[in-house]
Structure formats: C-alpha cells, structure tokens
C-alpha cells in the first residue's frame, strides 16, 4: 500500500455563471493596474491522503467518494482529480 495525495478541484461547469470570480475580476483585479486579466474562475480544492495499492485505484476511490457523498453537485459543478 502506498500513500497518495490527491487533489480534487470543484468548479462550476463551463457556461454556468460564477459571481465570486466575476466580482474578484471586476471589483479587485481590474480596478488596479492589472488590465491584461480577462477571466477569473473560483473553485474549491480538497486534498485527500489515501492509502491504496496503486494510483488508479486511489483515483477511482476518490471519485466514488465525491459522487457518493455529494461532495459536489454534478448538476452544477465538475471535478478535476489530480494525483500529486
């Protein structure tokens, strides 16, 4: 068994609005001198430490946890899983 660190990024699906990101962009970043920024998206990230026999099993297990326990709502958000 190996210990894997896995990050799960939860963000709104493309096309769904992201008021927090838009607010940071319009009311903070673009108000300063950083005019080259065109988009900011907010997301939530969870870091899991999990002991499994290999990388694929660990990743599959984490995806199952996120789905089963409603860690995100698939209607609105998507998740990206990265093994670090």
């Amino acid at each position: 068994m190996t210990l894997f660190t896995i990050s799960v990024t939860i963000e709104n699906k493309p096309g769904i609005s992201d008021p927090e990101g838009e607010t940071i962009l319009n009311d903070l970043v673009l108000k300063g001198t950083y005019k080259t920024v065109s988009k900011i998206k907010t997301a939530k990230m969870l870091k899991f430490a999990i002991k499994e026999k290999d990388k694929t099993t660990a990743e599959t297990k984490i995806r199952k946890i996120c789905d089963d326990l409603r860690i995100y709502n698939p209607m609105v958000s998507k998740i990206t899983i990265n093994v670090i």
């Binding site: 769904i16 609005s17 209607m75």
Partner: protein
C-alpha cells in the same frame, strides 16, 4: 424546447406560415404550462380578486393592497420546485430572487420574505436531508445578503416528496401609493435590459418546470447572485423616485421571450429588439438561446428616450449593466432581429395567449375508502407518545431553520418567527401580519376540505396576532394535470378556496399554479399553499409573560377529526380517516371573537390549534414560556370523545387563549354574547405539562424535558443524520 404537434399546427394556422426556429422557441416558452397556465386559467377566474382595498394595474406581477394613509402593501408567491429538486442551494436562492423582483416591478420596496418548504422523509432518506439543508442555506444566504428579513414560513416532510422538493417563496413589499409604477408605453420608447448578463444557464427552465422530473435532462440550473439583485433593487428604486420608468417587468420563467411578449400584449404595443444588443456572458450565443435563457437578476424597462441618460447614470452609479435592446413600435408585433436579419416577427397576442385547455376531471378512486377509520393499537403510555410527537420533524421546533435567516434586518419585525404569525411595523403606524400554510396530508384525504383548512389555519395564525385578514395568495401545487384524477383534486381544492374566500370576503391578490410535480413514486399529494395578509390598526398582540395561576381557555369545538393528523400518520403510520372540516359560520364567529378579545386587551397569548392537535398546542405554549400547565380534558368543548381523540384531533377553528384570572369574567361575557363554544380547560403552574381526565393523569411531562426534545430534534437529525 419544442411545441406539441397540435400546438405547432395551431401556431401555423394562426400565423399562416411555418414558424422560424426562434419563433418556435419563443412560443414554446410562453405556451408552457408554467407561463401560460393553459390547464388552470379557465378555472382560476372563479377566485374573488377584487375588494375595496385591492388596487389593480395592468401588467403587475404582484398584488397590491391599499393599507391607508397613502401607503400600499404588495405581495406575491412563487415556487421553484423543479430547479430546487436538482440544485437545492441555487434553486431555492433564485426562487427568492424571482419573487423579490416581482415585488419590485410595481415600484415597491421588498420588506419581507416567507418560504414554505417540503421534502421527503428526512429521518430515513439522506437525499431528503441534503435537499432540505441546502435549500435552507440557499434561502438564508440570498435573503441575508439582500438585507430583507425572512420572517416566516413552514416546513413539512412527507414520503410523497421523496427525491423532490417543494420550495415556495413569498415576498411582501411596501411603498407609497403615489410611487406605484403605472405601466404604460408610447411608440418610440426604448426597451432596456438591466442587470445580470445573459448566459446559457437555465435555458428551457419554464418548460422544464412543466415536465415531470422523470423526463427532463436536468440542465436548467441557475446560479444566484444576491449582490447584483441588491444593486438592481436600489437602481430601480432610484429610477422610480425620479419617475424615469414607464413600465417594468421581471425576467422570470421563459426569460426575454415571456417578458417581451407579455409586456407587448398587456400594453397593446409592439416591440422590436436586436439580440446583438443584449449583454451576454459568453460569445456566440444563438438568438434562440438569448430569447429563452433564464439567467437570473434581470429586469426589462420601458423608458422615454429623453430619460435614458438619467437611467444610464443611475446604472453606472450602482454598477449595474443596462443595454438598450430595442424600442416600442405601433401595432403588436414582437420583432426579434440580429443586426439587420429578422429571426422572429409574430403577434404578441398570439404568443401571450396559449390555447386554454379543458382538462378532464374524475374523482380519484382512492377517495372512496380513504376516510374509513381503522382499528388502531391502544395507547398505554401517553407521555411517551407525546415525547415522540414533539420530536417528529413536522412538529419539532423549526428554530434550526429560521435561526439561519436574518429576520430582524430592516427593524420592522415586531413579532418574530416561532410564533403563530410574524408581524411587521408599517410606516403609517399600522402593523402587517402574514403567514403561509399548507397541509398536504389533509388535502390528500379530502382535497376540498384540506384546502379550506389551510386557508383557515393561515387566517387563524394572523388572527392570533390581532390582525384582520385583508388578502390572500394561493399557490396550487399538483401532479400531472393530464391525469383526470389529479385534475379533479386541483379543481376541488380551488373550489374550496374560492368558497372560503367569498364567504370571508378575502380577495385573492395573487397566486401561482405549479403542475407536473411528480416523483419516481408518482404524483405528489395535492399541496395548495395559502398565504394570508392581515392588518392591525392599533397594536398587535405581542405575547406576554405567563404567570402562575393564569387560565387557559379554548375556543371552538374539538371533533372526531384525526384524518391526516400527525397522530395517525407519525404514531400509527395510518393514512386516512376523517379529514377536519371547517364550519364557515363557526369559523367566522370564533375569528371575530378572538379579534375582539385582543382589541380589548383581555389576553396575554393567543395560539391556534393545528398540527398535533390540542396536546401539541398546549405544550408549545408551556415550552415557549417555560411554565407548566394542568389541563382537564373532560372540560374540552365538543363531541364526547376518547382521550386520544381529544388530545390529537386536528379540528379547525380552535384557539387557545392565556389570560389573567381577573379577566376571565369579561372574557366569558363576551364569548357568551357571541355564542361561541368555549371553556376554561387549564391553569398554569409549576414546571410540568399535565393532561388529566377526571383527575386521572394521562400525560405528565417536565417542561424542560419536553422543551429539550422539541427544540433539538430537528437540528440533531440534520447534524447527526
């Protein structure tokens, strides 16, 4: 989105050609059940909608009541059931946003929010818990960010809402009569779209709400942004003060399509608009998508050309985007262009007036036997049953819910949530009391009497604060209307509500019909929700401290009516029995007497008997006042019934009054004069809740223990599952 074949034929014959794809999208949005009320409209006309204080203007999205001294109160109710069932946080929050904008469209400031929430069995079903928890958080986050208090509502759980949610939101507005926006438009006026940008979210929402969840593709989710909503409120208020607005409409179900065609139709104007002028969130959106997108926080404004600059300045100040998307034309065509190319050109009258349907109705077969009583297990330990009932999610204190809502912001809330009805202070020295109520368990057993019961309960609740009912909102939620049995229950409920409203001369000032509420287990139980607004001219009854030896008086008869009661359904797991019926004359006598008594200042507390019956109502008074009470059940007026029925029957028109001994005589004189059935049934003392029958103890509970169970069980369920 699409039209049914018959509807497409109908459209073709009306316009004399094949419609373009944009036209089909626009018409499909507007002809959906959600927007057109095609199944219900013919019948809704039976409701009384006029009265001495009702103010009507064309194109209003909310009802307006004159409350004297140059002030008006506005109110509206909406539901967001389908979206909340798939995304409870955003669905419930955007529901609040929608109803707030309906209030805004009359030119009044929203001052209070209510919500009625219904979910599946939260004790067993984690999905129901997830929906409940997130819907409450969504409402709290949205309302709290806006600075509008959420001052009341109701929460109920029933298996019929498994994997589903009913989220009803009502809002109240207040303003000066002279500031009401009188919708009008002249040729050449500009059409302005204000607020959030248009994106692909919520495309097809109105039609989505008109399909049962089993068949939808679950794509219509909307993201709430309360901060834009707040800016829109302030921008509209300022524009109103400067008399810049000729007409204004909220973009709700059906998006731009419905807002434009309904505005054009009600005002008898044409509107020409260019979708390229609409501020969009993402590039490359097709005109069809722009026309039916249900992106939130948007308002449509019609304004005189000369005043545009001022409106733009206001929008700039509040950092709200506004785009001139078109102008008013003569005739009544809705003309949608993209640049120079025409995508739709069709009469507003055709779009806004779907073919109304005559649905078949048939009395449901299940009703034949449902009122039959069943032999139930006899109860040996009533105290234990009482504790179980107090912990049942439908009866337990909802403080976990309203504790998350800011219910005091705006400093109008005089009587706060947790009482029968909340009370708001108005600027003219009067007070407004409001409550929403529903009871699907009773409506399932008897759709007519159940609906009347909800209406009476909402009235009783506002009466308990000393308010005279002046207006009502109805929200009729049923399953698929194509099923004649479901349509029959809809009609019965509607007839019941109409009869009660006419008898009590309470005008219906607004409402909503939500059909196709189906789950994988089948249709929901008939769920009409009634909101009642009451006006208090002098002072509201603010509950006072109860002391030892104060008396408990009950008004109204207790009957053998346990059908749909918590006692039958939660304790005995039995669905059926006698549905409580309201005797209109008795109801009126009792209501007027309680108002009289409150006016004369004879009582400390008034509380209505509803869910859980007399036993729960008395316990609630004891628990909230932390004082014991000794009740003699043999003194309860009404039929001679076994103790379980006296304790738990949910008969209507009953009120509990708490008063100082010295006021008992004048109270009795008044009640006798009014020929009201009443009796003194208890005395407050000590710290135990004791129900006795002829000196024999039936229930004996410490107030502390009862309070602990009642206060904490809902929260424990949510936190610990």
């Amino acid at each position: 989105m699409s039209l049914e074949r018959q509807e497409l034929e109908d459209l073709k014959s009306k316009i004399g050609r094949d419609p373009t794809s944009t036209e089909v999208q626009i018409v499909a949005a507007e002809w959906s059940e959600h927007c057109s009320y095609k199944s219900s409209k013919k019948h809704l006309k039976m409701l009384p909608m006029t009265g001495p204080s009702v103010i009507f203007e064309k194109g209003y999205d909310s009802g307006v009541l004159d409350v004297g001294d140059g002030y008006v109160v506005t109110a509206h109710i909406e539901s967001h059931n389908h979206p909340s069932a798939v995304e409870p946080y955003g669905g419930a929050a955007t529901g609040v946003g929608g109803v707030i904008r309906d209030i805004l469209s009359t030119g009044t400031r929203p001052i209070a929010i209510f919500n009625g929430l219904r979910f599946g069995n939260i004790e067993k079903d984690p999905q129901a818990r997830w929906l409940f928890k997130n819907a409450v958080t969504g409402i709290a986050d949205y309302g709290n960010c806006l600075g509008i208090p959420t001052i009341g509502g109701e929460v109920e759980f029933d298996e019929c809402y498994s994997n589903y949610a009913l989220v009803d939101v009502a809002a109240i507005g207040f303003g000066k009569k002279e500031n009401l926006i009188k919708n009008h438009a002249n040729k050449g006026d500009l059409v302005v779209l204000m607020g959030g940008s248009t994106g692909r979210d919520g495309i097809g929402g109105s039609q989505f709400a008109s399909d049962s969840l089993e068949t939808e593709d679950r794509s219509a989710v909307q993201i709430p942004d309360p901060f834009i909503e707040k800016l829109i409120i302030e921008a509209i208020m300022e524009a109103r003060n400067l008399h810049l607005i000729n007409a204004v409409k909220d973009l709700g179900g059906g998006g731009l399509s419905c807002a434009v065609s309904e505005t054009a139709d009600t005002m008898g104007i044409g509107i020409e608009l260019d979708v390229d002028k609409v501020h969009t969130r993402e590039p490359g959106m097709h005109p069809d998508e722009i026309m039916v997108s249900e992106s939130q926080e948007r308002m449509l404004i019609i304004i005189d050309k000369q005043k545009l600059k001022k409106l733009q300045d206001i929008c700039k100040k509040f950092r709200v985007i506004c785009s001139v998307i078109g102008h008013v034309t003569s005739g009544n065509l809705v003309h949608v262009k993209k640049g120079k190319k025409t995508f739709a050109k069709i009469s507003a009258e055709i779009i806004a007036n779907a073919q109304l349907l005559d649905r078949h109705s048939k009395k449901p077969a299940y009703l034949k036997s449902i009122q039959k009583e069943k032999k139930l297990d006899s109860i040996t330990n009533y105290s234990k049953i009482m504790i179980t009932l107090l912990s049942s999610p439908n009866i337990a204190s909802k403080s976990w819910v309203y504790g998350q809502y800011d219910h005091e912001v705006g400093i109008r809330t005089v009587v706060k949530p947790g009482q029968d009805a909340s009370v708001l202070r108005l600027d003219n020295g009067k007070f407004l009391s409001a409550k929403i109520d529903g009871n699907p368990k009773q409506c399932y057993i008897n759709p007519r009497e159940g609906a009347i019961g909800c209406f009476e309960e909402a009235c009783r609740n506002v009466v308990c604060t000393g308010a005279r009912p002046i207006g009502m909102l109805d929200h009729l939620q049923f399953g698929n209307p194509q099923d004649p049995e479901i349509f029959w229950t809809f009609l019965e409920s509607l007839k019941g509500i109409t009869d009660f409203a006419k008898f009590f001369q309470i005008p219906c000032i607004g409402g909503k019909v939500s059909l196709y509420n189906e789950t994988s287990l089948g249709p929901i139980k008939p769920t009409p929700i009634i909101g009642v607004l009451g006006l208090i001219d002098n002072t509201p009854l603010i509950p006072k401290k109860i002391n030892n030896s104060d008396c408990l008086v009950i008004i109204g008869n207790t009957k053998d009516e346990l059908g749909g009661s918590e006692f039958y359904e939660y304790i005995h797991r039995f669905v059926g029995g006698n549905c409580p019926k309201v005797d209109f004359k008795e109801s009126k006598r009792n209501m007027n007497s309680v108002l009289d008594i409150i006016k004369k200042g004879l009582i400390k507390v008034a509380h209505d008997c509803s869910k859980g019956g007399l036993a729960v109502a008395v316990s609630e008074i004891c628990m909230t006042n932390k004082i014991g009470c000794k009740i003699s059940l043999e003194n309860v007026p009404g039929e001679n019934l076994p103790p379980d029925r006296v304790l738990f029957s949910e008969s209507h028109s009953r009120y509990l009054l708490v008063l100082d001994k010295k006021n008992l005589k004048p109270l009795e004189n008044l009640l006798q004069k009014n020929k009201v059935s009443y009796n003194t049934i208890g005395r407050f003392e000590g710290n135990r809740i004791q129900f006795n029958v002829r000196k024999k103890s039936l229930i004996d509970l410490s107030v502390d223990k009862a309070l602990k169970v009642w206060m904490n069980s809902l929260e424990n369920l949510i936190i610990h599952g």
